[in-house]
Amino acid sequence: MKPALGFIGLGTMGRPMAQHLLRAGYEVTVWARRRESAAPVLELGAQWADSPRAVAQGVDTLLTNLTASVDVEQIALGADGALQGLRPGSLHVDFSTIAPDTARRIAQAYAAKQADFVDAPVSGGGGGAQNATLSIMWGGKSALAGRLQPLFACLGKTVVHVGAVGAGQVAKLCNQSAMVATIEACAEAARLAAASGVDFAKVCTALQAGSAGSRVLDVFGARMQRRDFAAGVAARLHHKDYAILMDEAAALGAYHPVSAAVWQQLNRLMASGWGGCDTSVLLRVLENLSGCSEPGVESRSI
């Protein structure tokens, strides 16, 4: 007997995730601030409930995928929120990328009702959600692994239990930090090559086999070579996550000079109106700052 599921947050990520679960035979109850966004999943057989509280009341496991910490906190702990509907033994799995401390706070509030909370942020973007190839990094009680495994299996390819509640979010922030800093480094390398009249494609080939080789160099380096800046994952999502990352560094009294510098580049990217582009567009931010234009080079898409 499959557990009854609730799903709140039916956007770019949440909708395909809910659809996978419905196709896998789960009963899914949904709520959304705007009912229209739930239409595609209601068509596939999901049920509607009138509030997060009502969703939580009728399910064993609540799943959420929302934009920001305040949204998750509101749905979980706000008026007519999940906490008011959850029963002892209920589980809430949040796939959003939010502040580690928000996750810990929600978990603590739920503990009073003997309900569990798991932070399970994902990596892989809209494509990963569509193709059920997401990487899921989760934090929470080890004992929940058995309950989580069948759900995660419908949604992703790589699942790692990182640690206690909040650890999933920390891992996600590490992911964003390491990945985007490397994208920036590739952009700077591309600039150096271009400014020196050297073919960056040849540089990438030379680098790929050695210590500078990385998934980021392969994927984002290739986009920079082709000047194909169509997302991928939209840069504004990385920008959004950097605010969480840098807030966490400040709260911890941690020294992150590189992330701080990359953050400024992302700010400039946003101000240039490139938030909907692939993060490889950090190359164009550098070009602007260097006061250089690229005559004769057509950007495939911006």
Binding site: M246, A249, Y255, S272
Partner: protein, 303 residues
């Protein structure tokens, strides 16, 4: 004037005392009774059960608290300032908060006919005690003129910078300049020291030229004296730079120097020196630049 004052901490207490000494009637409320002790028994001081009742009796209500959520709760929470203030009252927030938070508070109060000034200060505890604060104000010139006599009691200079939020923007600029400035002096001194050169002589030589700044003069001397007692606490400077960086995030602004400085202040706080003066940044630089001599670390480095 009938002046309400909420926030009687390190800064607020001396500011309120200066207002009382200058002959203004004080209307007070505080979360903790202990904060009210210095004011008890004075004829020109009335104490209230909640901010709403306080606001009903005051022409001007000053707030001096830690952060934006505190100001919002005081204004709009149950029994808050907005619940009791008469139309025409001016609320003056002298805390340092995000410019956008100040603008939103101003807009909400305006809906009830209550005027609002953001009026953050610079000058620290010493400035508050000696009524020597610099006050940077955002809001209407009419409200500014009304509150100016109070500003002149609490500080040595009050400037109307612009519309709502402009005071907080000016304060943020102040923190960028003083933060980056402190780090610049610390880097220069660390550079001199590590080069085996007397930083005191370097400072003397530099005071006469374009490198002169109040920070080189005052903070530089304290660095040379190794006097790291506040002054202005490092954790407060870290907090203010967080406001700057969050605003830069919102506006899409690139602030490389402020960003780097903010990280050094993270390290100051993270190393347990948050209660020291922000010139403790020098100690972080010294620690970061220290040559490791232990054998274990050398092995790590050479592997």
């Amino acid at each position: 004037m009938e002046v309400g004052f909420i926030g009687l901490g390190l800064m607020g207490r001396p500011m309120a005392l200066n207002l009382e000494r200058a002959g203004h009637s004080l209307h007070l409320w505080a979360r903790r009774a202990a904060s009210l002790q210095p004011f008890e028994g004075r004829d020109s001081v009335k104490i209230y059960a909640d901010p709403a009742q306080l606001a009903a009796q005051a022409d001007v209500v000053v707030t001096m608290v830690a952060d934006a959520p505190d100001v919002e709760a005081l204004c709009f929470g149950a029994q808050g300032i907005a619940a009791g203030a008469r139309p025409g009252t001016v609320v003056v927030d002298m805390s340092t908060i995000a410019p956008d938070a100040a603008r939103m508070i101003g807009r909400r109060l305006a809906q009830q006919g209550i005027d609002f000034l953001d009026a953050p200060v610079s000058g620290g505890e010493v400035g508050a005690i000696n009524a020597a604060l610099t006050i940077m104000v955002g809001g209407s010139s009419a409200a500014f003129e009304r509150v100016l006599p109070l500003f002149n009691v609490m500080g040595k200079a009050a400037t109307l910078i612009g519309d709502s939020g402009a005071g907080q923007v000016a304060k943020a600029c102040n923190q960028i300049l003083t933060g980056v400035g402190v780090l610049a002096v610390a880097e220069a001194f660390n550079f001199a020291q590590r080069s085996g050169v007397d930083a005191a002589r370097v400072r003397e030589a530099l005071l006469g030229g374009f490198a002169y700044s109040k920070i080189l003069e005052n903070h530089g001397q304290r660095m040379l004296d190794r006097n790291f007692e506040p002054g202005f606490k490092a954790w407060m400077h870290q907090k203010d730079l967080r406001i700057v960086m969050d605003e830069a995030h919102r506006l899409g602004l690139m602030l490389p120097a402020a960003a780097a400085t903010a990280q050094v202040f993270n390290a100051v706080v993270g190393s347990g020196m948050g209660e020291k003066d922000s010139i403790a940044a020098l100690r972080v630089l010294e620690k970061l630049g220290k040559a490791e001599t232990s054998r274990e670390t050398s092995r790590e480095i050479s592997s």
